[in-house]
Symmetry: D2
Subunit: 341 residues, 4 copies
């Protein structure tokens, strides 16, 4: 941490800062510059509340130096983390292969789900996504089939071998989701639901953690840290779009530069969700290509056999034909960056 | 809902739209314009997934007409909702009086809390805030005293009569919070934790609902709707700042225009939290004045007897002297807009 | 400037940084921390391109210390700047008085303008705003009356004594605007048009500088610095709303906390434009009150005698009655914070 | 345009709306819904100020239907626009080929510029970018070599055949830039400098128009429309990143989904600038790949032979080796989407 004094700060004010810094168990280093004094603080200040130093008369601001995540950091673990996805196809994420996870927004009924599962499997997907518990903005919207939905998903896995990815919305739902699914997803709206994250730290299945709609990169990695710190080292980071002033042609802005940046800062695998990342099915195939081109370790997207009649998120779902075409073109892009779908 | 066709859309495409609209139980009204055709749809489409109409060939976009919240709307309930805050001072929110709720970010220990409680009471506060369960961005940060913290809060109420406001982070914590506190707060990070919101619909205490960091006004009111729809009609809306590109001089941007707009659209009372809304204690007093000047029904803010040594959120806490001065100046502003602190 | 090395950086990398720092004419100070090394650099680095240090192998990031504006800073000039507005009423900005500048978005014709001018004068305004050159998002929209509009404005000043505030869009328009107007306004879209700003540095009239739609506080003050550095020390800072995800109930988000923060960092007067700051006339009066309550030195807003038929910006204009009522209520708020309208 | 009335609006209020609609030369169509009435308006309302209808008592909001750009729209011109870039290599943009334009942020001196020009040419670039006039946030920063810089650029074209792309900051600079350069660039800070845009409508050279830092897609296309409406049909749209809350690991957020969306809405070619789009050179190569993968018609980026000593924008410039490697990998991605660098 660096404490920057205001120009014109007094020696007494600097002393006051030094005292508080020492009381935090840190060692100070006072540097008198041409116009200002700064106090550099040595020692691990990751767990201290630094902000309060800003209250001291004469302090201009406090600049943190250490990143506050540790287990998620590539400084802590050098190689890349590779996570088996479950299912019966031996799929993993984090290596050269780029797994594709596809399926409907919500599990609506058995027939549709099985039809979709077989179709995405044939086109090259290795995972099936589908919501049994649905976080809906409106209390009046369809809230999901709950356990019945999970059973249909498990049946789809039996028939196809696809790994099952489903969202868990609260601690109470964890046991049920663990029983039926292979990968548990945390949605963007729960990205800072710390009780849920801490609960998932005790689970022995991979967690697909979506970035919050306005989470910074650091907050995103700290959310992962909650799960890692609990003992579960299988965290998959998922970029799904952020909220910006772009609300006319997309529902969210998909900031793909985070993909290579997460790879620099963390050893965890990164997937991209271009369905939520744009909210518009016509933009999904191009964003799939872009995501793979810049190094995404996987894709998760919404596919429906009849999007016009989907109960939820129809506008961002590919139909089966569109999915097949997307897969064909993304395979070529993957090869061009030495990856394989 | 209005379906806007692309220029050059064919009659078949319009027919397709009409068919889908009818299958949703709505009545259509086709209007052929100079350059485009639009299909106006009559009937209550609030619960339908309209987005999928955008998938139809020839459709440009779908414009929703009805707001999707109902119980929170001023169209449903005409007068303003007035909510008793609990405690022993007879405080209410939503009327002419502007209650001030103050206290530390976290309950740290008994002595500090009681000192703060007495001081804010004397300065004119009617509620005491304090976190027993703390949502912390980092898993390594102080997580709160849990039930012991709630007990200290209850003791402070005994001594001062102040209404106790505390954050509840998950469904499991509800019973404990209901037992000790008067008002349950939902934090910004849980603003779209729908399971928690639904759970709070069954509680018989007021809920202070913070706006999510990137929630739209409609999403904010829909979060309130989750609680109202469960049967709890005591919801207090709290603006606490949104996330924008302003990250240099503030931690959040405080968009005060939402105060009069919420009053237009909803009958629920609105409070402002200038501590989180700015993240900087030196900006808090002026934002308190601004909030009251534009009609806020209350204030909730962080006060600490020794902010330099606070365990959490020191930088945004007023000390006791600053709080007293703020109260004195805000009382004058309140009088200028015919309100009373 | 502080250069933060990555954990695990080598002594050679630190040496490389030191060499580059010295070649910039700065003195370095290497501090070896528990986990990282930082290089503090002493000397005035305001004019150097620091970003390139980030390219050196082993550097994590570069943290600037000095603010890059100087003449606009309250560190350079201690007292507040008070600027006479011109006109015949002796109005100034920056002192205890809070001048109100009102008028139509565009000058549309002589009769309307004079009617509005007399009405706002009677209600207590001291300045008349009105666009003769209009920056319009669409090339097909009304572009203003140009010099004829300026003549009408000057006539209105003759009749009422109001100071004339009008927008200048390019260097070529400066002489004409200087001839007719008292205060030249730079619009938000030109907030970083550096050629225009530099040109206004040579003008001997006050400049009302609007913040860019996505300018940071520092960029805003640096835009002012362009004018100040050219020799014109009469700059009035104007907050007019920023672009955020709030695009449903407002056109822009009005971040009022910038008002006290600008007062802390700069000696220049600050005005608020709640018309553009919200885009909705029904929100303007409450935002006027909030702006004055938190210390705004003035208000500039759109008023029209017949907003329903205004050629531009009708939706955000107050009519004459609304303006009078607003003035009456804002005067009370001003008195409550020891100011005077 | 659709005027949506509030629930509970009266027939008189609807009549008032109808009157105003007719006075705009439009034909109304009143639709009485279950809960609300809407007034659909037929006729070309593109040039009307619709916002003022929102002022009428009983109106909830006004929904525009027509896009306000026309010449830029793919509804007006069906095929794609192909623009020759100039220089001596016969390069064009908008077809199958993906031209790469590279060079230093600023022209610093003759030697550096020529070295860079030869190097990027050999690696496959067809255009040379370089600023002679520099828009700098600070008035104290290097402002460019002006005409001398343009001469160096022209000399580089002589030697290499590369097309010269340079920024024009004001109307006065147009003749000089036209004389020496092949493509005139409008920077993000001038993206809504309408006088400059209108001036460029009379130029007979291609204009590379950068999106403003917070421009919406519609505002971006309207800025293009200003140029097109003036008679210059050679406009290249350039995405260079937008301002969001992401300010920690990038300087701007690069929203690549706009590339396919611009292709849907407009016939104009689209290029991506990943240097400004991220602000960090280590992210540039991956963003180049992503941009080409999702259909970008070209790339423009900053390259320097010695970024550590660049006078401006060092942190986002590739060095010559990095540029060569990037070109090799992007060529493979281009081939995978049936394009060619």
């Amino acid at each position: 941490m660096i404490v920057v004094m205001k120009s014109g700060s007094t020696p007494e004010q600097v002393e006051h800062v030094v005292g508080l810094v020492r009381s935090m168990g840190l060692k100070e280093h006072v540097i008198v510059g041409t116009e200002r004094t700064v106090v550099a603080c040595i020692g691990d200040d990751r767990f201290k509340d630094k902000s309060r130093l800003e209250l001291i008369e004469g302090v201009d601001r406090v600049v943190p130096i250490l990143a506050t995540y540790k287990m998620a950091s590539s400084e802590t673990k050098k190689g890349r983390t590779i996570i088996p996805l479950g299912g019966k196809l031996g799929a993993t994420i984090g290596g050269t292969k780029v797994p594709v996870i596809a399926g409907p927004c919500s599990v609506e009924d058995r027939e549709h789900l099985l039809e979709i599962a077989h179709a995405v499997k044939e086109a090259g997907a290795v995972g099936l996504r589908g919501g049994a518990f649905k976080p809906r903005t409106s209390p009046y919207a369809f809230q999901g089939l709950a356990e019945q939905g999970l059973k249909y998903l498990a049946e789809a896995r039996e028939q196809t071998g696809l790994a099952i990815v489903t969202e868990v919305m609260s601690i109470e739902q964890i046991p049920l989701c663990v029983e039926y699914a292979d990968v548990l997803q945390v949605g963007a709206r729960n990205a800072q639901n710390y009780n849920l994250l801490a609960g998932l730290g005790h689970v022995h299945k991979p967690i697909l953690l979506k970035r919050g709609m306005s989470s910074t990169l650091e907050e995103f990695l700290l959310a992962a840290e909650y799960i890692l710190a609990g003992g579960n080292d299988q965290v998959i980071l998922c970029e799904r779009g952020i909220r910006t002033f772009e609300l006319d042609y997309v529902r969210n802005t998909l900031p793909l530069a985070i993909v290579p940046e997460l790879h620099r800062r963390s050893h965890l695998p990164v997937v991209v969700d271009p369905s939520h990342g744009t909210g518009k099915s016509h933009l999904v195939p191009d964003m799939c290509k872009a995501a793979v081109a810049c190094g995404s370790d996987g894709l998760i997207l919404e596919v429906h056999n009849d999007p016009e009649h989907a109960m939820t998120d129809g506008a961002q779902s590919l139909n089966l034909d569109q999915f097949r075409q997307m897969m064909a073109s993304v395979k070529r892009v993957a090869a061009a960056v030495d990856r394989e779908i």
